[in-house]
Point group: C2
Chain length 234, copies 2
DNA sequence: CCTATACATTTTGTATACAAACGAGAAATT
DNA sequence: AATTTCTCGTTTGTATACAAAATGTATAGG
């Protein structure tokens, strides 16, 4: 029972950080969190240590835990490194996947496409996170997997807007991303490493285009006419 | 005072694991370790959690901490992934290094060459570890750095014999490795990224030859991105 | 002789009380 | 008025006692 509470605490904190329910830079107070989750401070501190190990929070001496921030420098490195890690992982996942893992991945994908269709942005982001983490496990490469997990923490937080469609174009993009997932599953299942990396790169391109808009949004139109044109163009 | 004891405990356990003074697969008993280091079990458990986060030990539910083992599968992946991570890190270290970090790196190198000449294999291994970790920090890439740190845990453990010369050829190899370090420092200081990666690859080759008793598969291609689409480069 | 089960021992997990460090604000000194 | 120092409340860090789980051992039954 108490074990479940601790596991729930850790999973819930992870989810809340990934969805930015607890935003980057937030202070985490041990006493109040322990009370919230109905456990004492000792196991809560162990949870925080584990979250720190996974790049979710930063522990400072005598100063408690803060949710890892995402400054501009981090973002730059993120864009720089993502294709390398994602593609290397995809290649090795295709080489080393087991059929059991493929089945689990397909199950995640089914759930993801369901919640995405239902418009549940929060669950979509979390299941998308799980999807890519499962591919990471398939690669059986603890070195790259360590980097991937940290990368996914930032990626999921950054792309919180991705699964929350505002326009028709957004919905198309979500649909496309989920189709890409299906293609990636097939390639990995068929152990076609080259295809898997290629599809992963395309998937990254889609995500990156969306993220760049979020990070560097379209400039405000200089005049009313061009804005009208833009609206009518769709 | 107590803070120092805890820090010492963590550093000492790290060193003992890296030097295989505590061999892979060992069980770590909380009570006896706590007594050995003169701290109570609570802070000791936090140390173990941190070591687990760094890939030094594995924590199993209700079953304590074991030093991470190095099975055959791990070894294979190690040889596969090392050049990719080391070279990516070296390139970015050259791009992002500060002069302060260069000075610190040089200091480590001075110490390393001193203890290596003195035949202190244990300290040589640990300082070599520190040297490469410092280069990792220079890259300012938390994603690759996470993988590098895990890689170095295994690399340092594997190469425990490296700095313990048995023959003249061994001594020549050590000398060569340390000369390579000097060249790497120069390249990184001069921000010559291409040269730094090239030297790093040579350095890896030397180390790999030494570890060659283990099966080594083909490395992951270094240019997974540039092969495809250079739009992805930033 | 082997297996299974109950019990005892050991080890890990949690709660709580206490100690130490930090930070904010008041008081004192220049 | 500005700066320093002191004090107190808050928060984090540690020790210890206790609970729960796992492991080892002995004994009963087959």
């Amino acid at each position: 029972m108490a074990k479940q509470k601790k596991a729930h605490c850790e999973a819930d904190l992870r989810a809340r950080i990934l969805t930015q329910d607890i935003p980057p830079g937030s202070d985490l107070d041990e006493a109040s969190l322990a009370e919230d989750y109905g456990i004492s401070r000792t196991p809560l501190r162990e949870v925080l240590h584990r979250l720190a190990g996974g790049g979710y929070v930063r522990l400072e001496e005598n100063r408690g835990a803060k949710v890892e921030s995402m400054d501009f420098a981090t973002l730059r490195v993120f864009f720089q490194t993502a294709p390398l890690i994602y593609c290397s992982i995809a290649r090795q996942a295709a080489e080393n996947r087991s059929s059991r893992e493929i089945a689990a991945l397909k199950e995640t994908q089914v759930q993801l496409s369901r919640v995405a269709r239902a418009g549940d942005a929060r669950q979509s982001g979390l299941l998308n996170h799980k999807f890519h983490e499962q591919i990471g496990e398939m690669a059986r490469n603890p070195y790259l997997f360590a980097g991937l997990k940290r990368m996914l923490v930032d990626h999921t937080r950054l792309s919180q807007t991705f699964f929350d469609p505002k326009t028709n174009a957004d919905e198309t993009r979500i649909k496309k991303a989920i189709e890409q997932h299906d293609a990636m599953i097939s390639a990995i299942e068929a152990q076609e490493a080259a295809l898997a990396t290629d599809l992963t790169l395309q998937h990254w391109d889609l995500s990156r285009d969306q993220l760049e808009k979020y990070v560097r949004p379209d400039p405000i139109p200089l005049d009313v006419i061009s804005m009208k044109d833009h609206r009518n163009a769709i």
